[in-house]
């Protein structure tokens, strides 16, 4: 009688040990792969940023923090840092506002909704570089379809036109417009993702909560701001988190649309790191520029994740 449970525990213990062994065996390849191919380059990035390394040469010289010190005083770097903040914040605010509105609209049913959904998701689901080629044409200095439309409605290219006498706006050739163009494209790209995230949140709000607010005669905007938005705030923060992560370190719009121009006015840290490290061949300095993103990326993500997880508990 007294032996039976002891026997069972021994067998259980053996089975638990086998399970633990299996768990380690099944996860080891993935962890090993990630450590080797994410961890090693990550370590190298820090190593390079503290050394003088070029693409061609083999000589590596310890330079300490001098890359970082030089960068802080560099005008192109300051501009890139400012642009990174401007583009990220501009995109984030616009996406959050438009995403909430669009998600509200898509909560309703209407005929042909699946087509609208497919089209609205296109900027996120299509490969980003290919979609951006369409924008390169939209912003063309001579044949821009946007400019053509503005000329047709009389806003551009005639003597008393509101946007000027010239036949084109030169979207990517003007320092201010080029920045606006980049933000528009960022918003275009991320809006579908943010919308679908907010939609997931709206769908999770129990119907009776909305019904109750309606019975209490709360108006639409009061319902939205006082009942629904607070309830889905963790989900909104998830939308903020991913908009932030996918914007702050993205260099593709700049590479395809402006190459950092005109006169370095649209470079971000990510694109400057690419142009310095790969095209300029200065790996050390490029790595240092990219590493400036790390504290921001890590810090903001950590704060947002904490907020998200805390608000979930309460």
């Amino acid at each position: 009688m007294s032996l039976a449970p002891a026997k069972a525990t021994a067998a259980e213990r053996a089975s638990a040990r086998r399970d633990a062994l299996l768990a380690v065996g099944m996860i080891a390849p993935a962890v090993l792969f990630i450590v080797l191919l994410v961890g090693v380059p990550f370590g190298l990035a820090i190593y390079y940023s503290l050394h003088d390394v070029t693409t061609g040469g083999t000589a590596v010289k310890w330079v300490g923090l001098s890359h970082f010190v030089e960068l802080v005083g560099d005008r192109n770097f300051q501009q890139a840092l400012g642009n990174t903040i401007l583009f990220t914040v501009g995109t984030l605010v616009t996406v959050l506002v438009l995403g909430t509105i669009l998600a509200e609209l898509l909560m309703r049913d209407f005929r042909g909704k699946w087509v609208v959904r497919f089209l609205i998701l296109l900027p996120w689901t299509a490969p980003v570089a290919l979609g951006l080629i369409g924008w390169l044409w939209m912003y063309d200095s001579v044949f821009s379809p946007i400019d053509w439309f503005l000329r047709q409605v009389g806003l551009l290219g005639s003597r008393d036109a509101a946007l000027g006498v010239l036949p084109n706006l030169y979207w990517l050739g003007d320092k201010v417009l080029a920045k606006v163009s980049i933000i528009v494209v960022n918003v275009w790209r991320i809006l579908p993702l943010a919308t679908v995230i907010v939609l997931a949140g709206l769908n999770s709000v129990p119907r009776d909560v909305i019904e109750q607010a309606r019975v209490d005669r709360a108006g639409y905007f009061r319902r939205l701001f006082q009942v629904i938005l607070p309830m889905i705030s963790p989900i909104l923060m998830i939308a903020v988190l991913f908009t932030f992560i996918f914007t702050v370190a993205d260099m593709i719009p700049i590479f395809i649309l402006t190459r950092g121009g005109p006169a370095n006015s649209t470079n971000t840290l990510a694109s400057l790191a690419f142009f310095t490290g790969i095209l300029g061949g200065n790996l050390g300095r490029g790595a240092a520029i990219a590493l400036f993103l790390l504290p921001v990326l890590g810090g903001v993500s950590a704060v947002l994740l904490r907020l998200i997880r805390r608000s979930e508990v309460t």
Binding site: D19, V24, M26, I27, P29, A30, V31, F33, V38, V40, F42, G43, L44, A45, L98, L102, E104, L105, V116, L121, L122, P123, T125, A126, P127, V128, A129, L130, G131, L132, I133, W137, M138, F143, W148, W188, V196, I197, A200, R214, R217, Y220, I238, A249, D250, M251, F255, A273, G277, I278, L283, A287, A290, L293, L294, L297, L305, I308, R309, E312
Partner: protein
């Protein structure tokens, strides 16, 4: 109270729909139309431009949203016969396919281990793995280029086959963890009572039930690989080795000379299949992202 009760009771479905939002009828459709135009316009212009004659295309006066002259297949023909477009498509397929296989082999067992076998540390390690998905290529591509050179893979699609699982494996492991958690433990326990080992129960009893999850990660490993740009741009310079994403964006533009017709046609043709595939699974993608908030 008395007056509101009959009002809620008699709300017709039609009225209910109008009352739910802040925009009624026409304004609602107009706003939805505006958003749709904003999202789809570049693709629509690509579509029209792909079939426009050059003399129509390069006329600043001509309507860029429609045809002033009869459409032509010249750009498409040129794209398929005179450029490496088909080769880039094949490269993308090959990279995508190989990345899918590697991702499945690494992510599925890892996800089962984290979701089912490991206890509390499984959850922590799972989040840790997901966070590596959020490390942007921008932070890694410079030293990664040196690693690729050290492996002697530069200028070949194999560089991408090695690099892409660094983001597909973390994300797909995370997604798959969620799927495994949704499968009742009884399934394996029953299989183990029937004489299977734990691993046997996993392959015979759990995997068949996890097919929807596996299909999802196949689609994501594939679409994320075909869409990737930064690593491909950094690692591959040889025209014949490029994927469609960078091939179209870099090879059809020579300095200031843009082959606009084939360029836009190529971008559109390569975009649509990926977008269609992605659209079917985007809800799973979003479920994966929102799962960081915990259950």
């Amino acid at each position: 109270m008395v007056s509101s009760a009959p009002a809620t009771g008699t709300t017709a479905p039609g009225r209910e729909r109008v009352r739910r939002g802040f925009l009624g009828g026409t304004a609602f459709y107009l706003t939805v139309a505006l958003f749709t135009v904003f999202a789809a316009l570049p693709f629509y212009v690509m579509l029209i431009t792909s079939f426009k004659r050059n003399s129509d295309l390069f006329n600043p006066e001509a309507n860029p949203f429609w045809f002033a002259q009869p459409p032509t297949f010249d750009h498409i023909t040129l794209l398929f016969t005179d450029t490496l477009f088909v080769r880039w498509l094949l490269n993308s397929f090959m990279v995508g396919g190989l990345v899918v296989i590697i991702t499945l082999l690494l992510a599925v067992p890892a996800a089962y281990s984290l979701g089912r076998l490991a206890g509390s540390w499984g959850e922590v390690l799972g989040i840790g793995i997901f966070l590596t998905y959020l490390v942007p290529p921008t932070l890694l591509f410079l030293p990664f280029a040196k690693v690729i050179a050290a492996l002697d893979l530069q200028n070949s699609i194999w560089a991408l086959v090695v690099a892409y699982p660094t983001f597909t494996v973390p994300f797909c492991t995370w997604l798959m963890m969620g799927f495994f958690k949704g499968i009742p433990r009884d399934i394996e326990e029953q299989a183990m009572v029937d004489g299977y080992s734990r691993f046997g129960a996993f392959t015979r009893a759990v995997l068949p039930l996890a097919v929807p999850g596996i299909l999802t990660i196949v689609v994501f490993a594939f679409t994320l690989s075909t869409s990737e740009f930064v690593y491909a741009l950094t690692f591959v310079q040889d025209s014949a080795q490029k994927t469609v994403s960078i091939g179209v964006a870099t090879e059809l533009v020579r300095g200031d000379v843009f082959k606009w017709g084939p360029l836009l046609a190529g971008a559109l043709i390569a975009s649509i299949p990926v977008a269609v595939l992605y659209t079917f699974f985007i809800d799973h993608f979003v479920a994966g992202l929102t799962a960081v908030a915990g259950e």
